[in-house]
């Protein structure tokens, strides 16, 4: 597989007949988790609740029940559309998608086929995280709002299936990309970026394990630059890794079929993560005729200027803007990219800056020290016991020479363990760095005397030994000596 960083070389599959290009489009279903109530019924939507405990009369499609749009869901869809830099349609409409299945109580899903709430937009992905000039625009065709269906449980009874309607009527945003991606890595980057944007906006928690976000992956292959090939759609893929695997696997499968003289059937496929294969679910011929038509129970959705203004005003700073701002503060593109990838990290880092930390130093520290510690401890940034304010204090102690970088690592470890403030740790444990030339000179003299042979070698030209003397002095002073002063004094004595 061609790596992410390989931005310059396009992803190609090499078959017997030469190179093939893969074309990918994603339809992402994102649950509107910002509100805990359903799209048209107001019922609750808690994940993992007892089956059929989150079901209203509307969700169960009892006779005479009517849908009423949940304004907060509409608001979140509009905010998301704005964050995707997309056209917001002042007037949109709900349509019914008709089909029979036991998880669909009304026999139709309320969706938006003809007039979606959000029109074209775009998302920028970075093909190389270290290079802010490696951006690529992925087009968004539309975003529409629709209901989720319930769930069948086949393992509860030997001959029957049970129906759980907890998810019936849950609000989803379907975000349809243009077929603008050309590799598994691009598909992965797009999905990660989309997820980040949703999480920044707060409309969807992006939790793919709990099903609040899943993707239908459209894949086709063609000779580079040629006509678009026939695509397949692999449904309900629920992780970034799986999406990438589907693109990879499906593209290779299609190349094999085509080179074997076959044709690609336009069909719906399912991904089996255990075997890492996709399987045909149904062909175009078996496709439902959904008989879409405008839902007569619902009026067209008209959005007024005041509502749009409020939505716009409520948007937070989005990942790209934040990344650019961080870079403007002198933070490296890589660090800026890492710091803005997850909204919690970005928020934490902003709080760190607000607490007075110097941006470059802070960025390096977060990416190296904090992330390292979190990884080790298996924690996420939201449950670290160290607050941004305490971290800022720690960094300030380093910056003003109170402690050395080495001591800072120790202090940080103690902070993680005890939750104590860094200044307290430094004071109580006597970790303050010393610049006292008298004490340092005395220590240097002892070291030099004990290593007369090495001093001789140094003076004979083995300059590399300078580091050894520094190390010995620092060790003897338990790391508390100011390294600058140690350097200066050593040079004065040796040179």
């Amino acid at each position: 597989m061609v790596g992410m960083a390989d931005a310059g070389a396009p992803f190609r599959i090499t078959g017997e007949t030469g190179e093939w290009e893969v074309v990918v489009g994603l339809e992402v279903h994102a649950q509107i988790t910002a509100t805990a109530s359903k799209l048209f019924s107001g019922a609750a939507t808690a994940f993992g609740a007892e089956p059929n405990s989150q079901v209203s009369l509307v969700d169960a499609a009892m006779p005479g029940m009517l849908p009423v749009p949940n304004k907060e869901c509409i608001r979140q869809a509009v905010r998301t559309g704005m964050a995707l830099d997309a056209v917001i349609n002042r007037s949109s409409r709900f349509d019914r998608k008709n089909y029979f299945y036991a998880d669909l109580p009304s026999g139709y899903q309320i969706s938006q086929l003809y007039h979606p709430i959000v029109g074209p937009g775009e998302v920028e992905i970075l093909l190389d995280e270290k290079d802010e000039n490696s951006g690529k625009q992925i087009g968004i065709e539309r975003l529409h709002v629709e209901q989720d269906a319930g769930k069948l449980m086949h393992d509860q009874h030997p001959t029957m299936s049970y129906v759980d309607l907890n998810r019936s009527g849950v609000a989803l945003m379907e975000i349809v990309s243009r077929p603008d991606m050309r590799s598994p890595a691009e598909a992965g980057a797009y999905l990660r970026k989309l997820r980040a944007i949703l999480r920044y906006v707060g409309s969807c928690d992006g939790n793919m394990e709990e099903g609040s976000m899943r993707a239908d992956v459209n894949v086709s292959v063609r000779k580079p630059g040629g006509e678009l090939g026939t695509r397949t759609e692999t449904k309900n893929v629920n992780s970034v890794r799986f999406v990438m695997a589907v693109v990879e696997h499906e593209a290779k499968r299609q190349v094999e079929v085509l080179e074997g003289g076959g044709a690609i059937a336009q069909e719906t496929r399912l991904y089996d993560p255990d075997k890492n294969v996709t399987r045909s679910l149904r062909s175009k011929e078996d496709a439902h005729d959904y008989r879409y038509f405008p839902d007569p129970d619902l009026l067209p959705l008209e959005l007024d200027e005041a509502f749009l203004d409020e939505c716009r005003a409520s948007l937070p700073e989005l990942p790209d803007a934040k990344r650019k701002r961080f870079e403007g503060l002198g933070i490296t593109p890589y660090n800026a990219s890492v710091l803005t990838a997850e909204v919690e990290t970005a928020r934490w880092f902003d709080a760190l800056l607000d607490a007075g930390a110097e941006p470059k130093q802070a960025a390096n520290w977060v990416v190296a020290e904090l992330f390292g510690a979190l990884n080790r401890r298996g924690e996420s940034i939201t449950d670290t016991p160290v607050s941004p304010e305490e971290a800022a204090e720690l960094l300030k102690l380093v910056a003003d020479g109170t402690i050395s970088g080495t001591i800072a690592k120790q202090v940080f470890e103690i902070m993680l363990e005890t939750g104590e403030a860094p200044s307290k740790i430094v004071d109580e444990r006597g970790l303050k760095q010393t610049s006292d030339t008298g004490a340092i000179d005395a220590e240097i003299d002892t070291i030099l005397a004990a290593n007369a042979d090495k001093v001789a070698e140094y003076k004979a030209g083995k300059q590399a030994l300078f580091g050894f003397f520094v190390g010995q002095v620092m060790k003897a002073m338990q790391g508390k000596a100011n390294p600058g002063v140690v350097n200066d004094r050593l040079r004065a004595k040796l040179d």
Partner: protein
């Protein structure tokens, strides 16, 4: 028939308030009348205890401050309205035994106004029909008979049980629903009044859906005033229905006036159809004279797309119905056919057994017109024609205030006489355009035909102008002096 059951709702209200009789006496009189009229097959469920309970509340409240508008009035409720704990089946086998755990907004409003329930009224299955013959409970027999004949006649449909009950004096008033004439045509057949308000006046919440963009509840009663009273109680904004109108309910009854001075009555030339019996056109002419007498000026108007209304209706209504009725799948409530192997088999068996012929026909038509490849030719085009029909009315109302037409192209026909579905659909030829346009429309009795059967006159008002419809209806009512009643044979 006891004297109490001969009274209008307004008379019952006034007599009860003045202490002439108790609400209990009214309820008992009606309960007895209902129990004695089983031959009509008007009620699918009788709820005498409900009527008595409401009467008891009314009797207790009397003399203790202001009474709600319908205190002590027992009503019949069309089986399309969900009534909490009481079987609600829409006249269909597929919902047999279904007892909703909720009450429709309209019936809840009526209960709030103090009304009790005599029972659930028979109807065409899912309100699809014009004769009540499609009901799973068998047809309602009209209390009316042709002179010198004992042939059973239909009360019209789909609110046939409501019409029969009101005209047979086994309910002083009833709820109906009107999708394409289902209040007005049976009202005309039964010699009573019935009004369909502007679309959105009455909440559809809790009414079993037939065609959502057309369905509207309305009252059926023995006088225009009674209709005004009932409609005031039924109507009102309901946040649970997105298509409900967020407007205050006008004081229709208080503003009733048969003085039509300065009003213009539109007479649409396209409604003059040769095949309609001369008696009906003659009654129409008589209606024009009555309204002139009340001070109105007749003006000829044109509704050029009228001839497309019926085909348009028979695309849109079945399309919506095919989708609305998908929920009757045997999974969660109502009928389920067992002994099948797959889910698809269960659907097919349940729906085959649960739905009657007319419902199946409309589900098939609706499914067809929404299908890929046919959608634009049928559904999209029908929506466009519907818009043109609306425009026709909007234009007409620039030159008139209310429109007068016959309600139906015939008087009541015999049970089993009309077997061709298309001939049956023609019953609603005058009623359907106002439904497509969402306008308020009413049928009031105008007289009897040569066979002694009632004929109705049809009034259509502009959007939200139920008042002019009621006022013109009152003017006709006062002048027609329609006092005919079916002779009791049941």
């Amino acid at each position: 028939m006891s004297e109490l059951t001969s009274k209008t709702i307004a008379e019952l209200r006034d007599g009860f308030r003045s202490g002439e009789f108790s609400a209990r006496e009214v309820a008992e009189a009606y309960n007895a009348a209902v129990a004695g009229a089983k031959l009509l097959n008007a009620y699918t469920v009788e709820t005498p205890e409900d009527a008595l309970a409401a009467a008891e509340v009314a009797d207790k409240a009397r003399g203790q401050g202001e009474l709600p508008s319908l205190a002590g009035i027992p009503l019949g409720i069309k089986d399309l309205f969900a009534t909490k704990g009481v079987a609600t089946t829409a006249g269909s086998n597929i919902l047999k035994g279904f007892r909703p755990p909720y009450e429709s907004t309209v019936t809840a409003n009526l209960r709030k106004a103090g009304a009790g329930m005599l029972g659930k009224l028979n109807m065409d299955e899912f309100a699809m029909g014009s004769s009540n013959e499609t009901s799973a409970y068998g047809p309602v027999i009209s209390p009316w008979r042709r002179k010198g004949s004992n042939v059973g006649l239909t009360p019209g449909g789909s609110s046939g049980g409501s019409a029969a009950a009101v005209s047979a004096h086994i309910a002083p008033g009833a709820t109906g629903t009107d999708t394409g004439g289902s209040i007005r045509q049976p009202a005309a057949f039964a010699g009573i009044c019935g009004i369909k308000p502007t679309y959105g006046r009455c909440s559809r919440w809790g009414i079993v859906a037939f065609a959502s963009s057309l369905d509207q509840a309305g009252p059926m009663a023995r006088s225009v005033r009674d209709c005004a009273m009932l409609l005031e109680a039924m109507a009102g904004f309901d946040p649970k229905d997105s298509t409900s109108l967020d407007l205050p309910v006008p004081k229709w009854e208080a503003n009733l006036s048969s003085d039509l001075k300065g009003k213009r009555v539109g007479i649409p030339r396209e409604y003059r159809i040769d095949s309609v019996p001369a008696e009906i056109n003659a009654l129409w002419d008589q209606g024009i004279e009555w309204l002139k007498d009340a001070g109105a000026t007749p003006v000829e108007i044109s509704l050029p797309h009228t001839k497309y209304a019926l085909p348009t209706y028979y695309i849109i209504a079945p399309a919506e119905a095919s989708s609305n009725l998908a929920r009757y799948d045997g999974v969660r409530y109502g009928l389920r056919e067992e002994g099948v192997k797959t889910l698809d088999d269960m659907y097919a068996a349940t729906r085959a057994a649960g739905f009657g012929e007319e419902v199946k026909r409309r589900v098939m038509i609706g499914t067809y017109v929404l299908s890929a490849g046919f959608y634009d030719a049928y559904f999209t085009k029908a929506q466009r024609v519907r818009a043109l029909i609306k425009q026709d009315f909007a234009k007409a109302f620039e030159s008139c205030d209310v429109i007068l037409t016959p309600t139906a192209p015939s008087a009541a026909f015999g049970i089993g006489e009309t077997t061709d579905p298309l001939a049956m659909y023609l019953n609603d030829v005058f009623a359907v355009p106002a439904s497509l346009a969402g306008l308020p429309a009413m049928s009031v009795p105008g007289g009897l035909d040569g066979q002694g059967l009632p004929l109705g006159l049809h009034l259509i008002g502009n959007e939200l102008d139920e008042q002019i419809v009621l006022n013109a209806g009152l003017a006709i009512e006062e002048r027609a002096g329609f006092t005919a009643r079916p002779e009791k044979w049941w």
